[in-house]
Structure formats: structure tokens, C-alpha cells
């Protein structure tokens, strides 16, 4: 009784502080033993389930049956800029000393997906498909090691002629596909440290595509013809099949100082882990003095997620966050529905009759508590998952400290806003069960659908439902130069991290406004 009087008097003299209200709500929250235990449990369960999930995420790749399984990821080459790259292709090459010009005509490029393992083994081959970034062309490379600096002009599956160098640089040339009736002439010139690429439809009218400047390019470089073909990703799939491409070259000519003038074929970066191990002898044929047929598999590009080699921290942390989320939804709902059940709400609203402020104080208390629990749990999870995934032989793409911090803080904010949403639903429904089910169905069910339905078809769920907020956990890099399986299951979200969180905030804001309105309007 005294509290009521004090509150009224302090209001009268202008001391009805929001701070007191917060203090009162905090006291209510922390003195219920169940909710404090649940907060700790939420943090613990996030770390624990992340650990369980990461433990089951182990690298194991069996290209040619059970006996060939490897449990450690193959070495990942780094490009001249230090970034992880993919660098495997068939290269028919020889050294060139000093300046020179390489010219070749490509008359055909075709491809097909294959099962993993050496070509020639009796495996189901699928319908011919030329993948978008299948590449065939001419290259100047510092040396034949993986990740070496290079510049190349090439025809591609669907991206026309391109000049690319050092894995990340790309410039478009002639559009359209290559065919016997519309061949493509390609040319690279090397003058000192500068390599320039040209293309032409007839071999007499050349247009420049681009220029690459290198530092300290040695006098002797490797020049030659190359073919490669990245993974084929069937529509709706989360994983790709290796593919091979075959190209026909003719009119091959080199002006410059060739030491031996004899061509050697090498499968660069060949390892039987994902791309088929091509037999060097059968993958290139010299048809005439200046005509070749070459078959290759692999890619020359920046490394992105969504491939069989990569582990993704995001997936494990997401799984850990789900049970934590459910616990916090229950805690937040009970924080208000138990007041209704026990009639405490009448005392609360007698003590401070301004209902909007009471509700704001409740939201702030429960949101902060959920944020704290989420922060501790996710921070633990990030450290644990990182170690477990690496111990399991997975390759993790480098993630900056800033991005890691964003995952931790973003996930904690997600849990805080979800708790506030649950509180608002609890206030609106005044029934625990209905509020908890609504919150869980809104936040968790869309994720199950996105994971279990064919990839891509249900991406709209990750834009429109509160589940969009899980975009804060996205860390995987993508590149326009790689057509990978950029799906939610592989850690690619259709919305940017903070935009996804904003969607959840929008839902929470609508729920808060409705709950405040209902609380003001209804009798208790």
C-alpha cells in the first residue's frame, strides 16, 4: 500500500522517474528464480548446441568410394593479394623469355557435369551443360604454382570474352557464345610488366579489352592455352557437381623468344578432392602444328562459400541460437502473462497508472536481459565453433574481427528484439501459450521451410518474415566471378545483415504499438 502512495506523491512533485519504474520491473524480473535460471540456460544452450552442431560438421570427402575418403581439407592456395583462391585448370604451356605476343583462335567450347573422381571411370555422366564460368583461352603466368600471378584472355560459358588477371580482376570483351560459325580470336601481349589483352572476330581487326600491370614480373614467364570448368549447380541445389569443358584451339602462334618451342600439358592444382583428376595425357591433343583440343576442370577465381571444401561457422551458431531464442521467448512471455495470471498487473498499474511507461520499462528490462544472455552465449559459441570446425578438418574462409563482432552483437540484438516481440505478443494475447507459439512460428518455422524446401524457392521467407534477422549471422563472401550455390543453407542470406535485423525490428515495433494500444484501452 505504501508503495502506491509514494508513487503518487512523487508523481505529484515531478519525481515519477522512469528509472524507478525500471528498477521496479527489474526487481520483479530478477526475483523470479525461474527467469534468472532461464537466462543462464539460454546463454549455455546457445554455446552447447553450437558445439554439438559444429562437432557434426566434419570434412569428409570420398571422391572414388569409401576407401578414398579424406578427413582434412586440401591446401587452399592464396593469390597475389593474400586472398584465398581456387586455381586448378589444364594448362598447355611453355616458357617465354622477354617481351612477346601470344595469339590463338577458339572455335568451340562444350562441357558436361561429371561425378567426382578420375574421368574414364564408369560413372553416370549427365546431359551436356556448359557452366556459365567455363573458361578457355590464353594465359601468361608467373609460374605454374597454385595462386601464381597471371593475366588471361578467355571465352566463357555464358559471359562472353573476358580478360581476367590475378583472380579478382575482370573486364568484358566481345559478348556472345563461341561456335564454329562465330569463332573468337584472343591475343595477349607482354611488354615489360604490362600485359594487354585483345579480342577479335576475324583475326585482323583487334580491340583492346584491358591492361594488367604487374610488379617484378620475371623475364621468363609461362605462356600457353588453358581450359577449366567450375562446379555445375543444378537449380534448387545447395551443392554442385564437378564439370569438365573441352575447347578447340587453332591458329596458335607466339612471337618472341621461345626457349624450346615445345608444348607441355599440366593439370594445375590437380587433386582428386572435388574436381576430377584428369589424366594429363588424354586431356590435351595436338591436332596439327598450331591446333589443339584441351579438356579441363576446376576454376581460376576467388574462393567463396557454398563449396564442398568450406565449413561455415554461421550454420552452427544459427543452430545454437534457436534453442536460446525459444527459451528467451518463453521467459519474456511469462514476464507479462504471469502478471495477468496472478493479478499482479492490477497492483503494477495502480502503482504507476501510466501504462505505456510501464510497458516500456518491461520491454527495456526483458530486452536488456535477453541481450546480455545472447551476447555471452554467442561470444562463447563463436570461439568454440571456430576451434571445433578447424579440428574437424574444415576449411574456414577468413572472417575479419569486425565481422565476427557483428555476428555476436547482431545475434544478441536479434534475441533481444525477439524477446521484446514475445513480450508484446504476451501483452496483446494475455495468454502464454498463444504468444509463445506465435513468436516461435514467426521466427523459427520459416527457417525450417527454407532449409527443407528446394534452395531458392522459399527465399522470399527470408525477406518478409522476422526470420530475415538471421542475416546478421552471414559471413560468407561472394563474388560475381563465381556462380556458387549462394543459398541460405550455405550461409548466404537474401538481405544484408542489418537490413534483415530491421525487418524483425519492424515486426517488433508493430507488435509493441498494438500491445501498448491494447494495454491502454482494455481493463485489466
Amino acid at each position: 500500500m505504501t508503495t502506491g502512495i509514494i508513487a503518487h506523491r512523487s508523481e505529484a512533485v515531478g519525481h515519477d522517474g522512469f528509472a524507478q519504474l525500471l528498477w521496479a520491473e527489474w526487481t520483479k524480473f530478477r526475483t523470479v528464480r525461474g527467469s534468472v535460471i532461464a537466462l543462464g540456460a539460454a546463454a549455455l544452450v546457445i554455446a552447447l548446441l553450437s558445439f554439438v552442431s559444429a562437432s557434426g560438421d566434419r570434412f569428409s570427402f570420398c571422391p572414388t568410394g569409401r576407401s578414398s575418403c579424406t578427413s582434412r581439407h586440401p591446401a587452399v592456395p592464396t593469390g597475389p593479394g593474400g586472398e584465398p583462391v581456387t586455381d586448378s585448370f589444364m594448362f598447355v604451356h611453355q616458357p617465354l623469355v622477354g617481351n612477346g605476343v601470344v595469339t590463338a583462335r577458339v572455335t568451340s567450347l562444350s562441357g558436361r557435369p561429371v561425378g567426382g573422381g578420375p574421368i574414364g571411370a564408369p560413372r553416370a555422366t549427365m546431359q551436356p551443360v556448359l557452366v556459365p564460368w567455363a573458361k578457355a583461352g590464353i594465359m601468361v603466368e608467373r609460374d605454374t604454382s597454385q595462386g601464381a600471378a597471371y593475366a588471361a584472355v578467355m571465352v566463357t560459358g555464358t559471359h562472353g570474352v573476358r580478360m581476367q588477371y590475378d583472380y579478382t580482376h575482370d573486364a568484358p570483351g566481345l559478348p556472345g557464345a563461341v561456335a564454329m560459325s562465330s569463332p573468337r580470336w584472343l591475343r595477349l601481349t607482354r611488354i615489360g610488366d604490362i600485359i594487354t589483352g585483345y579480342d577479335s572476330t576475324d583475326g585482323s581487326h583487334w580491340s583492346k579489352i584491358g591492361t594488367a600491370r604487374f610488379r617484378d614480373l620475371p623475364s621468363a614467364v609461362q605462356i600457353g592455352l588453358f581450359v577449366t570448368s567450375p562446379a555445375y549447380i543444378p537449380s534448387g541445389s545447395n551443392i554442385g557437381n564437378p564439370s569438365v569443358a573441352t575447347a578447340s584451339f587453332d591458329e596458335v602462334s607466339v612471337r618472341g623468344d621461345l626457349l624450346t618451342n615445345s608444348w607441355t600439358g599440366d593439370a594445375i592444382g590437380a587433386s582428386a578432392t572435388f574436381y576430377p583428376l584428369l589424366s594429363t595425357a588424354s586431356s590435351w591433343h595436338r591436332l596439327a602444328r598450331n591446333a589443339f583440343t584441351i579438356t579441363g576442370s576446376g576454376d581460376i577465381a576467388p574462393r567463396v562459400g557454398g563449396s564442398v571444401f568450406n565449413g561455415d561457422m554461421g550454420g552452427s551458431i544459427l543452430i545454437g541460437a534457436i534453442p536460446g531464442l525459444i527459451v528467451l521467448i518463453v521467459v519474456a512471455t511469462l514476464f507479462v502473462t504471469s502478471e495477468y495470471r496472478r493479478g499482479l498487473i492490477r497492483i503494477t498499474l495502480t502503482a504507476s497508472p501510466r501504462r505505456g511507461r510501464v510497458f516500456a520499462a518491461k520491454a527495456l528490462v526483458v530486452g536488456s536481459a535477453a541481450f546480455a544472455a545472447g551476447l555471452v552465449g554467442t561470444a562463447l559459441a563463436v570461439v568454440i565453433v571456430h576451434h571445433v570446425l578447424i579440428a574437424n578438418g574444415n576449411y574456414l574462409l577468413p572472417v575479419s574481427r569486425l565481422t565476427e563482432a557483428r555476428v555476436i552483437v547482431g545475434t544478441a540484438l536479434l534475441l533481444a528484439v525477439a524477446a521484446v516481440l514475445a513480450l508484446a505478443l504476451g501483452t496483446a494475447f494475455r495468454r502464454g501459450a498463444a504468444a509463445v507459439v506465435t513468436a516461435i512460428v514467426l521466427l523459427v518455422l520459416p527457417l525450417i521451410l527454407v532449409y527443407t524446401l528446394p534452395a531458392g524457392e522459399s527465399n522470399w521467407l527470408m525477406r518478409l518474415t522476422p526470420t530475415a534477422a538471421f542475416a546478421v549471422q552471414g559471413t560468407q563472401p561472394s563474388s560475381p566471378l563465381v556462380a556458387s550455390a549462394y543459398t541460405v543453407k550455405n550461409g548466404y542470406y537474401p538481405l544484408a545483415p542489418w537490413a534483415g535485423l530491421a525487418v524483425l525490428c519492424g515486426y517488433a515495433a508493430i507488435a509493441l504499438a498494438s500491445a501498448t494500444w491494447l494495454l491502454r484501452r482494455r481493463d485489466v
Partner: protein, 257 residues
């Protein structure tokens, strides 16, 4: 038992929420199935299990059915009615059995409406999405044995989920916590199984999860690749429901009300 059934039936039918929840189960299930089917499209490579796709709405229907099951028991505790109930019918397990029987009936009724609606929606929408006879997809029909099993099994699935929820609530007594536990068990396994890449772990998780195992009943094609056979999967869910009811029953007997 007859008196107990009669008493529970009176409680169930005189609550406005019962009919609302059953109606919502049907509407949400059919609505979600229709939305998922409408968002899908025929792909030349890979085969889509269209009966299973049409029954996707069960994912949400189970959440609503479990509210019904949870409230059936938690309302007794939140209102103090449980003391009256147990004074009138002191054999507590009989009370629980009566509740379970009526819940089964309610879930069957709601489930039949929901599942029929899903199949009708699939039959109407699928052909316009390219799933035509010409592409190897016959119209959905209960005359097809596997489709009948998927449809009937989905109704049984809803029944078992509601019994599982009843058991959990009898043990926990609080509605919000109970529904959180139920949905946690249902939804966590499919997510965990998707993230785990180790093939053995993946299979075992799908075999023991109440939702992943139970929904194996909806598969109509490529049964060999399933982690668990359809009826065995439903059996796993029945074990979960049985274990929850047993735990709830024991606690109901042992604890003061």
C-alpha cells in the same frame, strides 16, 4: 471412465477456444500448403515429391494443435480447476486417459479437414506449376496407395504430436513453458540435421527427431533414401508421445495438485 470422458467432453466443447483452435489448424495448414505449392515450380532435373510438398502445411498445423493439447491440461492448473477435477474423479490416470482420448478425437477431426484441404489445394494448383501428367506427375489422388498413406499418416502425425504435447504439459503444468518445450523438440531436430554434414550424424538425428522421423510418413517416392521408413518413423514419434504421457502420468500421480 465413461463419467470422466463425459466430464472432459463437457469441458472441451464448452470452451470457445477449442473450435477456434481446430478451425485455425485447418486454415493455417491449408493456407501454408497452398502458399508453398504456389511458390514451387517444375524443374526438368530432379524429382519433386508432390504429395509431400502439398502436405508441408502440417509444419504449422502441428503448432496450433499443440496449443489445443497444452491448454487442455494447463488451463486446469492456471484456473485451479484441477482440484475440482481430481476431487470429482480421484483416479488421476483415468482423467489423463479421458483427456488423451478426447484430444485424439479432436485432432483426428481437425486433421482430416486440414489434410483434405491440402490435397485439394495441391490437386488444383500443382498442374499450373508445371507438375503435369506430361512431366510425369499424375494428379494427386487418394486412390494412389502412397498418397493415401501420406495423407492418413499426416492425420496420425497430428494426433501423436497433440498427445506428446499433452504429456509434456501434464509434467510441466505451465502453458508457455510447455509449448516452448514441445516446439523446441519438434523444430530443433530438422534444423540441426540440416547443418550437420557428417552423414552418420545427419541420419541418426533424422531418425530420432520427433518431427523428422514422424514426417517420413509423408514421403511417397524414393523411400530407400529415407533415413527411416515411413511407419517406423511414425513409431518413433509414438515413442516420444508415449514417453511424454508416461512421464506426465507418473508426475500427476505422485505430485500434489
Amino acid at each position: 471412465m465413461r463419467e470422466a470422458l463425459h466430464a472432459e467432453w463437457t469441458k472441451l466443447r464448452t470452451l470457445a477456444s477449442t473450435s477456434w483452435l481446430l478451425l485455425s489448424t485447418a486454415i493455417l495448414t491449408v493456407g501454408m500448403s497452398a502458399a508453398v505449392v504456389a511458390a514451387s515450380s517444375y524443374q526438368p532435373f530432379g524429382y519433386q515429391d508432390t504429395p509431400k510438398l502439398s502436405l508441408t502445411g502440417i509444419d504449422i498445423g502441428q503448432a496450433v494443435v499443440s496449443i489445443l493439447a497444452v491448454l487442455m491440461m494447463s488451463n486446469e492448473y492456471s484456473t485451479g480447476m484441477i482440484r475440482t477435477t481430481l476431487t470429482a474423479a480421484p483416479r488421476r490416470l483415468v482423467v489423463l486417459a479421458a483427456k488423451a482420448t478426447l484430444l485424439t478425437g479432436a485432432a483426428v477431426a481437425g486433421g482430416i479437414v486440414a489434410v483434405s484441404g491440402c490435397l485439394v489445394a495441391g490437386r488444383l494448383i500443382l498442374p499450373s506449376k508445371g507438375f503435369t501428367v506430361a512431366h510425369g506427375y499424375p494428379l494427386l489422388s487418394l486412390a494412389h496407395g502412397a498418397t493415401l498413406r501420406a495423407a492418413g499418416g499426416s492425420v496420425l502425425y497430428l494426433v501423436l504430436v497433440s498427445l506428446f504435447s499433452l504429456g509434456v504439459t501434464t509434467a510441466i503444468r505451465d502453458s508457455a513453458t510447455a509449448i516452448g518445450v514441445v516446439l523446441g523438440f519438434l523444430y530443433l531436430f530438422p534444423l540441426l540435421a540440416q547443418v550437420v554434414t557428417d552423414p552418420a550424424w545427419h541420419r541418426h538425428l533424422e531418425q530420432i527427431g520427433p518431427m523428422t522421423a514422424g514426417l517420413a510418413i509423408q514421403a511417397t517416392t524414393d523411400l530407400r533414401s529415407l533415413p527411416i521408413s515411413p511407419w517406423a518413423g511414425l513409431g518413433v514419434l509414438a515413442l516420444w508421445a508415449g514417453a511424454a504421457l508416461a512421464t506426465g502420468g507418473i508426475l500427476l500421480r505422485l505430485r500434489d495438485a
